[in-house]
Symmetry: C2
Subunit: 285 residues, 2 copies
């Protein structure tokens, strides 16, 4: 049975709502992480930080479970969501970010924090560095060789798993050129899809939903394993960085798109003014 | 230098125009191929068919070159185009179809034509088979073992090349979590992108455009090599099938989306009627 049009539309609205709830929860996570990282360092605080990190990872799992429920038979919209800018959609992998990019976030943080420490040391200008960055003990630039080796090992495994999932999705995409979709399309000129094709397309979306759920599980598992390897402070710094990157890319993409549309509207308005000018001139000629 | 908003908008409009021109050219190709395939088989006709196939392959190359020109610094829109339904966007690979799916089209055609011939033989009901399918000499189900081996060899090579391109795009996606984009995002709460980030995002789009052009070249080369392996009749049948599949998927995706929106509008209208009914009832209470 194909899912009816109206229920598909309702599902898409729920998907959108689920995404915006997640984005607003991420803003809360960012505020909570900042506050926790700014607090005086103590054993008690480390415990609280650990709890917060655990809660945030749990929240991500809940979000992926909700996405999975909502993607059943209506999965296509997750592969190029209308709520994303084209910049973000161009960065998507299986309806979300690449799990391997979590690890790139760690590498980039190590690099940038090491640079900051180096300039502090060379220029001896500690006063320009904020409170949070001052508490360098246990922060990302202090990852031990053992931690880095574990992260590197995880990176390799995650890339292998990503490749497997990419391959599954590729096979599903190729399958569309097979029966019964292909045969109906080849048989004659443009026809109504018909029940067989509609069912096949629904089936295709269901299979893509399974692949997306697998990708979501890999995203969650990568997050969980990173958090296991690093200290609570490092985990909090990593989550804060990742969330800021996500929220920033969403915002930058939106602004780039708005600028384009704004320019277009200004362009249209000035073209209209120009046209009006022309007609006025022709009226006065 | 970042591309200005207005020129990006103009480029996107040109991209859209280029796509619709291509879709309308595909409709012409379909009509031309059908006509040529329906004509009496003769040596002279085979030559004409060969010329038509060559022209269509050339037209595809011109289309990819135009896309490449238009994707410079404004490539994101090709990865989830606004002119596609979400069904089609979910099937996209590097801004187009998978080259390996061309070969799946051949396999599917072989299978379906063999089935047709088998039923003809078993049921001896030739009268239900149209003119085009009647001229089975040299059609897809008659691919020789040598041709099939060559197609199979091509399939393997194309998949390997697809994987390489997929890998390049994956690396570019991961790079976004690196400097300067990442560092600007990590540094503080939501900030304006700034020149460094805007330039980095433009650079990212440029690199994605290079990968898309490479994917387009692979699509074109795959098409060219298939046409070299098969006879003019088989090539024409293959192109006709591929184009019908593309046009059908575009149409089916559009109709599925319109049904959803239509249902939504009907839903909204009935909700409004219901609300109006409720106020009427409350007014009479």
């Amino acid at each position: 049975m194909a899912t009816s049009g109206s229920s598909r539309y309702e599902t898409e609205q729920l998907q959108k709502g689920c995404y915006y709830e997640w984005m607003s929860l991420q803003s809360k996570h960012i505020a909570d992480l900042k506050e926790a990282l700014m607090s005086q360092r103590s054993k008690e605080n480390d415990r609280k930080l650990g709890e917060l990190v655990g809660k945030i990872v749990d929240d991500f799992q809940k979000y992926t479970e909700r996405r999975s429920e909502l993607s059943h038979r209506c999965c296509s919209s997750y592969f190029a969501p209308s709520w994303n800018s084209s910049l973000e959609n161009g960065l998507l992998w299986m309806g979300g970010c690449r799990p391997s990019s979590f690890i790139r976030v760690i590498y980039a943080m190590c690099g940038s924090q090491t640079e900051t420490h180096l300039s502090e040391y060379l220029l001896k200008i500690d006063e320009n560095v904020g409170d949070a960055n001052n508490s360098t003990d246990g922060s990302m630039s202090d990852l031990t060789a053992t931690q880095l080796a574990k992260i590197n090992e995880l990176h390799i495994k995650v890339i292998q798993k990503e490749d497997k999932i990419t391959k599954k999705a590729a096979n599903l995409q190729e399958d569309v050129a097979d029966m019964p979709i292909a045969v109906t399309a080849y048989a004659t000129d443009l026809v109504e899809a018909g029940v067989a094709v509609e069912d096949a397309l629904d089936k295709h979306e269901e299979c893509m939903a399974v692949v997306m759920a697998e990708a979501d599980r890999l995203r969650f598992e990568t997050l969980r394993k990173i958090v296991e390897v690093v200290t609570p402070v490092q985990a909090a710094e990593f989550l804060l960085a990742g969330k800021r990157l996500h929220v920033s890319l969403h915002e930058w993409g939106r602004v780039r798109e708005e600028k384009r549309l704004g320019c277009a509207r200004t362009g249209e308005a000035s073209a209209a003014r120009e046209d009006a000018g022309k007609s006025n001139r022709s009226a006065t000629c």
